[in-house]
């Protein structure tokens, strides 16, 4: 079993400052009020005696459908047509489709699950193969990616684990489709439906 480093300087051990500092440095970590893993009573810690957020914190977010400034509100209402992004306003490239400010997390390892349903208008895929790509960014760094899903509808889940620093944190979802060709329709191009997030921060 691991325990903190211990040192046993003898009376005649400190002969000059170098030896003192060497012994002292090795001894530092045991000067902590006697906290020692070997001294902690066995089978003691359960949910009732630990404080909230002692070891972890879970956040769930249900975010609805993708809603971006480029959303074309003129499409939709007919059978087979969602309302969402279309080539009337979209020319390609990454879009931020969801952004969450996280609080209450301490330094540690983050487990992030993002799930949703992709709708992807594939009618003109013979001329211009349609796909949807998604990437997850945590505090601006890409931590997970999903590339070129070609299905018209599919349910998916992205899962990643990574080290992170304490809150405040920003979790961002970005998505993209392909640039338009000269043969497209003006219906909804793609959207993400029923987006939900699970964040599990662990600091032990």
């Amino acid at each position: 079993m691991k325990k903190w480093t211990e040192a046993y300087p003898r009376d005649n051990a400190i002969v000059d400052y170098k030896q003192f500092n060497q012994g002292y440095n090795a001894y530092k970590s045991s000067f902590n009020g006697g906290i020692d893993r070997t001294m902690t009573p066995s089978e003691t810690f359960d949910k009732d005696i630990v404080k909230d957020k002692a070891f972890h914190y879970i956040v769930i977010k249900r975010r609805g459908d993708m809603d971006v400034p480029q959303t074309d509100s003129t499409t939709g209402t007919t059978l087979g047509d969602f309302r969402g992004l279309s080539y009337n306003t979209y020319g390609g490239g990454w879009l931020t489709v969801d952004e969450i400010d996280l609080t209450g997390m301490k330094d540690g390892m983050m487990h992030w699950e993002f799930s949703s349903h992709i709708y992807n208008n594939v009618y003109h895929s013979d001329d211009n193969p349609k796909s949807v790509s998604i990437r997850l960014l945590f505090d601006g760094l890409e931590v997970c990616s999903l590339y070129q899903v070609p299905d018209p509808v599919i349910t998916f889940r992205m899962v990643c684990d990574f080290p992170y620093t304490a809150s405040p944190n920003k979790a961002t979802v970005q998505a993209r489709s392909v640039s338009p060709s000269d043969r497209e329709n003006d219906k909804c191009l793609f959207t993400l439906l029923s987006m939900q997030h699970l964040f599990i921060g662990r600091w032990r």
Binding site: M1, D16, Y17, F20, N21, Y24, K28, F31, N32, I35, D36, R37, T40, S42, E43, T44, F45, D46, K47, K51, D52, A54, F55, H56, Y57, I58, I60, R62, G64, D65, T75, T77, T78, L79, G80, D81, F82, R83, G84, E113, S115, H117, Y119, N121, V122, Y123, H124, D126, D127, D151, P152, V153, I154, T155, R157, L193, S194, L198, I200, R202
Partner: protein, 279 residues
């Protein structure tokens, strides 16, 4: 991680005074305060936790977990009715167990299933304008012994009256809005695409679908079982005049022709759940 910054360690030729030594000792104590972080990180090890001898759980993070496998196969035909009563949804996997699920605990349910769709032909209401034609597989739970099964929170059985206007087709519209599909896996029936000036209908090949449902308990529950349900077909549309709530993307339970014979076959399926403390 704490850091010790010794500002004035004893130097060469200096006398070891109590003041100098006490100073560096104080610096150590300041760097490693007797607080929650240091006790958590340095003072606890596996034997310190009150673990269940059978499964190793302490209940601090993970409260319960289990899984169930179903290797049977079932074939489901698409609804052919325009109005209620629709062809009933079909159970594809039932799992009975007993589990306490307390307020503020987090439940995570995951499932997967093998599936294959088929059709004799493609006709109304599926045409070149219906891009998304799907089968939903969704999660239900049983909250009393032998009692009724209901969709889990934030989930529909796709038989909600979502629009009472006369469009499209002159009938009320039943299905689900997208804010009630958080425990759904959608399986595509067909890829509809333009090909050489005509429209092609390519049936999706056999695949494995998966899904999940995540929920923070708003009250105390006793769960007696979970099950997966399936029905179809659904077509997407934007509901600009819903019976309840704001306009929203939605799924419409469509009547299909029996001669088109749309079916989905679900083979092996698997469900697993975890219950965790929120914090």
């Amino acid at each position: 991680m704490s850091r010790i910054n010794n500002t004035n360690p004893p130097g060469r030729g200096k006398e070891l005074t109590s003041t100098a030594l006490n100073q560096v000792f104080t610096e150590v104590n300041d760097a490693f305060p007797m607080n929650a972080e240091n006790v958590r990180n340095e003072g606890l090890d596996q034997p310190s936790f009150d673990l269940d001898a059978n499964d190793g759980k302490s209940g601090i993070i993970l409260v319960a977990a289990d899984e169930d496998q179903n290797n049977s196969s079932i074939s489901i035909s698409a609804n052919t009715e325009q109005e209620p009563p629709f062809i009933s949804s079909t159970v594809i996997h039932t799992w009975n167990f007993l589990q306490i699920y307390a307020t503020n605990q987090i439940m995570r349910v995951y499932w997967q299933f093998e599936n294959e769709v088929s059709a004799n032909s493609y006709g109304s209401p599926i045409d070149a304008d219906t891009n998304a034609v799907t089968w939903p597989v969704w999660l239900e739970w049983q909250l009393s012994s032998g009692g009724a099964w209901t969709p889990v929170p934030n989930q529909s059985d796709f038989e909600d009256l979502i629009q009472t206007t006369t469009t499209p087709g002159g009938y009320d519209i039943y299905g689900a809005s997208s804010d009630n599909t958080y425990a759904t896996t959608f399986v595509s029936q067909v890829y509809i695409h333009r090909h050489s000036a005509t429209t092609d209908y390519d049936t999706q090949p056999a695949r494995t679908g998966y899904g999940s449902w995540i929920y923070k308990a708003d009250q105390n529950y006793v769960i007696y079982g979970l099950r997966l349900m399936c029905r179809g077909l659904l077509i997407n549309f934007f509901n600009d005049n819903p019976d309840v709530g704001s306009p929203i993307n939605s799924w419409y339970l469509v009547p299909s022709s029996a001669s088109d014979a749309y079916t989905i076959t679900i083979d092996a399926s698997h469900i697993a759940y975890m219950i965790m403390e929120e914090q």
